[in-house]
Amino acid sequence: MSSQRKTGKMALSGIRIIDFGMGIIEPTTSCYMADFGAEVIKVESYSRLDFMRGAEFYVGEKRDPDTNVAFNRYNQNKLGALINLKHPKGVELAKKLVGVADVVTESFASGVIKRLGLGYEELRKVKPDIIMLSSSFAGQTGPYHEFKGQGALIAALQGLDELTGWPDRRPISPSAAFCDFYISWVWVVAIMAALEYHRRTGKGQYIDGSSLEGGLDILDTGIADYSVNGRILKRRGNRHPAAAPHGVYRCQGEDRWCAISVFGDAKWRSFCRVIGNPAWTSGEQFSSLLGRLQNHDELDRLVESWTMEHNVEEVMLKLQKAGVAAGVVKNAKEMYEDPQLAYAKHFWEPKEPGMEAFTFEAPSALMSGTPARFQRRAPLLGEHNDYVFGKLLGLDSEEYVKLMEEGVIA
C-alpha cells in the first residue's frame, strides 16, 4: 500500500507534524522540517509553556513569552495551538489532532506522555499508521531511562568532553550543550526514514529517541580503535595525527587567533613561501611530516613568531591564496558580518516591524529546487487556535467557546 498525498512547492508540503516538545532538541527537529515546508503545529498550554519562552535571551527589559529570541529561533515557521493536557478533554482533543497528523513528536521525560494518556499505543488507536518520535535524555528503556538533565550532561556521557581540551588539563565541556544543537538532524533522518517506510508499506512506527545514543557519531573511529587496538582516543590540544603545523596561532591584536592546518610536504613548502622562507623552515627537523610532528612544540613557537606579527585576516588570506588551509577564529560579531553567510542569505531578516531583534537562520543545506523559506516567526501563544480547532478539527463556535471556558483550549 502506498499513500498518495498532496504535494506543493516545498519539499515537505503536505506533511503535518504535531509537536508536543519543549526546549531545544525536539523543537529544532520539527523546526528544520517546517523550514522545508512541513506544517508543524506546536501544542502548548498556559499551564505548560515551552520553557524556552522564559529563557535568558529576551529582548528589552521584560521577559515576554512571545518575544523570546531563543524560542523564536527554535520554533520559526511553526503554528501554535493551546491544549491543556492535564484536562481529560484536553487529552481527547489532542488525540483528535493526532488523527489528522502524519507525525507526532514529544520530549517529555521518559514515560510521561504515556501517563498523560497519549502514549504510542493510545495514539495508534486513533491513527493506526501514525509515526511518533519521543526524544528523551537516554530513551524509554535501559538502566538510565529515568535520568534527567541538561544537554551538557549528555555530552559528558557521550565522551565529547574527554575529547576536548589539553592533554595536561581536565576535560572541557564545549558549547552551550553540544547535543542540543546536533541531535535535531539525527531525528530528522529518523522521521524522514519512517515517512519513506510508511509511503511504501503503509506502516507507521514508534521511534524511541535517546539523545545519549543520538550523538555517539562524534566518537568517529574511536570505538573501532578501542575495540581493535585497545587505544583510548583522548583530547590532544589542537594537534592532528597527520598534519603539522596544525594549530590555533596568536595573531596581532587582543585575543585574535588563526587556525592553520598544513597537510603534506607540498603544502608545507607553500606555507614556508608565504611566511618568507625564514632560515628555520629549512631546519632538518622540519623537512618531513614525521619530523614536524615530533618537533611540534618548537614548530608552534616558530609559526607563532610569524602570525603574531600579522593581522588575523591577512594571515588567513595569504595562506588561502597559497592553497593552505587557514581560518580566522571568528567571534560573535564577525559571524554576523561574514561575507559567505551573507552570500548564502543564511540569516533570514524579515522586514516586518519588531523582527529586528530576532535571529532567524536558514538551514545550512541549500536546495536548488525546493529551498527552505522563512514564512513566519514562532507562534504567539495560541496564535493559530482558530485554524487548528476550527478549520482542521471542524469544531463549531459553540464547542470551541465551551472548551475555552472549561480550560481545555487554554
Binding site: I172, A224, G369
Partner: protein, 415 residues
C-alpha cells in the same frame, strides 16, 4: 539480496553513489545503515581515505584503515577513474541507475570534468545530488582550503571553547565533519522524499561550516541582544556578567561534570554537600536567595561552590556521584572516555554497538551502530568492501561488460 528482502528495508530499493572523502563520509554511511545500495566509487589505486588512521593492529595498509572500516560498512566498492573520458562514460551509465549521489569534491571539480550537477541532472532528472563542502559550492569562501579545525574556527564555535590562558581548543574528533555529514543526511532524506513524491531531483548544497555553526547559536543571541561578546571557558561560552554554569571536577577515578547553577538543581546540590558535611558556609541563610529562590547566581559564589564541590568529588567515584545526583535531583554526569562509552551498561543494554564479522581477518570488530532504531533497518551489518571488490558484480553482471572489456579497462587505468 532478493528483491523482496530489499523492499523490506527503508532505503532497500534505492541506489546511492558515494564520492565523499572524510569530510562527508558520515552522510552515505547513514544512508547505508537504512539499507540503501551504497556504491563507493574509488580511484583505481584505492580511495585516499584508506590512508587515514588508526589502522587494524596498527598495520598501516589500505585494506586495514579503521577509518575506512567505520565509514564504509554495508557498502559496495567499485574502482573508477573519473578523470578519463571512458571513466566518465561509465559514470554517466551509473548515474542513470542511481537515486542519490553524495560527493565532497572541491567546488567546480565535477563541472570541470563535465559531470557536474547540471550535466548529471540532464541524464537523470530524478537524481538528488548532495554536495558536502567546507563553505558551500558558491560564494566568497567557496574556493577556500579547509580542515575540520578550520571549519570550527570559522563557525564562531571554536572561539567559545577552552581555558582563558590558552588558545581556543578543538575537539579531538572531527566534530565539524560529523555535524556537516549529519545535516547532509537529513537534507538528502528531505530532497529524496520530494523526489519520491514528484519525480524531481535537485542539488543539495551543504556547507560544513554553516552546519557546525549551529553550536554558535547562543553566543550569537548574546551578542545580538546585549552587544556583549562571549568568550571561551571550560564550561561553554562565557558571558561577561553571567556566572559560568558548569564545573568539571576530579574525582577518585576520573572526572565528573556538574551543572552547578541549573535553577532547580542548585538546592539539591547544596543539600548534598551539607549532608556530606562538606558544604562549608553554604547553608548560611544569606545564600538562600540564589539557591532556593532562583535568584541571580553571583560569580564569586559559583567559584566558591566549585571549590567545595571539587573537594567533595575527590572523595567519591564518578559512578557514585552520577547515580546519587540523579536520586537527589542534582546535575552530575560521568566524564566518559571512549572506553567508558563502549562499556557503558546503558548504551550496551540498548544495543547501540554492532559486531561486524571480518572473515578475512578472522576477527569481529565492534563499531558504533545507528543512532536510532527503526523497523526496516538491516539487522546484520556487512564489513567495509575491499578496493574494487564489486567491480565484477556491477560492471560485469549489471552493466554487461564482458571479461575482455573489463581487462582492457583495468589495463588502461579506468577501473
Amino acid at each position: 539480496m532478493a528483491e523482496k528482502e530489499k523492499d523490506k528495508l527503508v532505503l532497500g530499493p534505492y541506489r546511492v553513489l558515494d564520492l565523499t572523502d572524510d569530510s562527508g563520509a558520515l552522510c552515505p554511511r547513514i544512508l547505508a545503515s537504512l539499507g540503501a545500495d551504497v556504491i563507493k566509487i574509488e580511484p583505481p589505486a584505492g580511495d585516499p581515505t584508506r590512508n587515514i588512521g588508526p589502522f587494524y593492529h596498527d598495520e598501516a595498509e589500505p585494506e586495514k584503515s579503521l577509518h575506512w572500516f567505520t565509514y564504509n560498512l554495508n557498502k559496495r566498492s567499485i574502482t573508477l577513474n573519473l578523470e578519463t573520458a571512458t571513466g566518465q562514460e561509465l559514470f554517466r551509465k551509473l548515474v542513470k541507475t542511481a537515486d542519490i549521489l553524495v560527493e565532497s569534491f572541491r567546488p567546480g571539480y565535477l563541472n570541470k570534468l563535465g559531470i557536474g550537477y547540471a550535466k548529471l541532472h540532464k541524464i537523470n532528472p530524478r537524481l538528488v545530488h548532495t554536495s558536502i563542502t567546507p563553505f558551500g559550492s558558491r560564494g566568497p569562501y567557496a574556493g577556500f582550503e579547509s580542515s575540520a579545525l578550520v571549519c570550527l574556527a570559522m563557525s564562531g564555535f571554536l572561539n567559545t571553547i577552552g581555558d582563558p590562558d590558552r588558545p581556543p581548543v578543538q575537539v579531538a574528533s572531527p566534530v565539524a565533519y560529523t555535524q556537516g555529514g549529519m545535516e547532509a543526511a537529513a537534507a538528502t532524506m528531505i530532497a529524496f522524499w520530494y523526489q519520491q513524491q514528484t519525480g524531481k531531483g535537485q542539488h543539495v548544497d551543504v556547507s560544513i561550516r554553516d552546519s557546525i555553526m549551529a553550536q554558535f547559536v547562543n553566543p550569537g543571541f548574546v551578542w545580538k541582544i546585549r552587544g556583549v561578546m562571549p568568550s571561551r571557558g571550560i564550561g561553554g561560552p562565557q558571558v561577561p556578567g553571567m556566572a559560568p554554569n558548569r564545573a568539571v571536577a576530579k574525582c577518585k577515578d576520573g572526572y565528573v561534570l556538574c551543572h552547578v547553577t541549573h535553577v532547580t538543581s542548585r538546592q539539591p546540590l547544596r543539600q548534598w554537600l551539607a549532608d556530606a558535611g562538606m558544604a562549608g558556609d553554604l547553608m548560611d541563610p544569606k545564600w538562600d536567595q540564589p539557591f532556593m529562590k532562583g535568584g541571580k547566581f553571583p560569580e564569586a559564589l559559583k567559584a566558591h561552590v566549585d571549590e567545595l564541590f571539587a573537594a567533595f568529588a575527590a572523595t567519591r567515584t564518578k559512578e557514585e556521584l552520577m547515580h546519587e545526583a540523579q536520586k537527589r535531583g542534582a546535575q552530575v554526569a560521568r566524564e566518559q572516555t571512549v572506553a567508558d562509552v563502549v562499556n557503558d551498561p546503558h548504551v550496551k543494554a540498548r544495543e547501540y554497538f554492532v559486531q561486524v564479522e571480518h572473515p578475512e581477518l578472522n576477527d569481529t570488530i565492534t563499531y558504533g551502530g545507528a543512532s536510532f532504531k527503526l523497523d526496516g533497518m538491516p539487522k546484520q551489518w556487512r564489513r567495509a568492501p575491499f578496493i574494487g571488490e564489486h567491480n565484477q558484480e556491477i560492471y560485469g553482471e549489471e552493466l554487461g561488460l564482458n571479461q575482455n572489456e573489463l581487462t582492457i579497462l583495468k589495463e588502461s587505468g579506468v577501473i
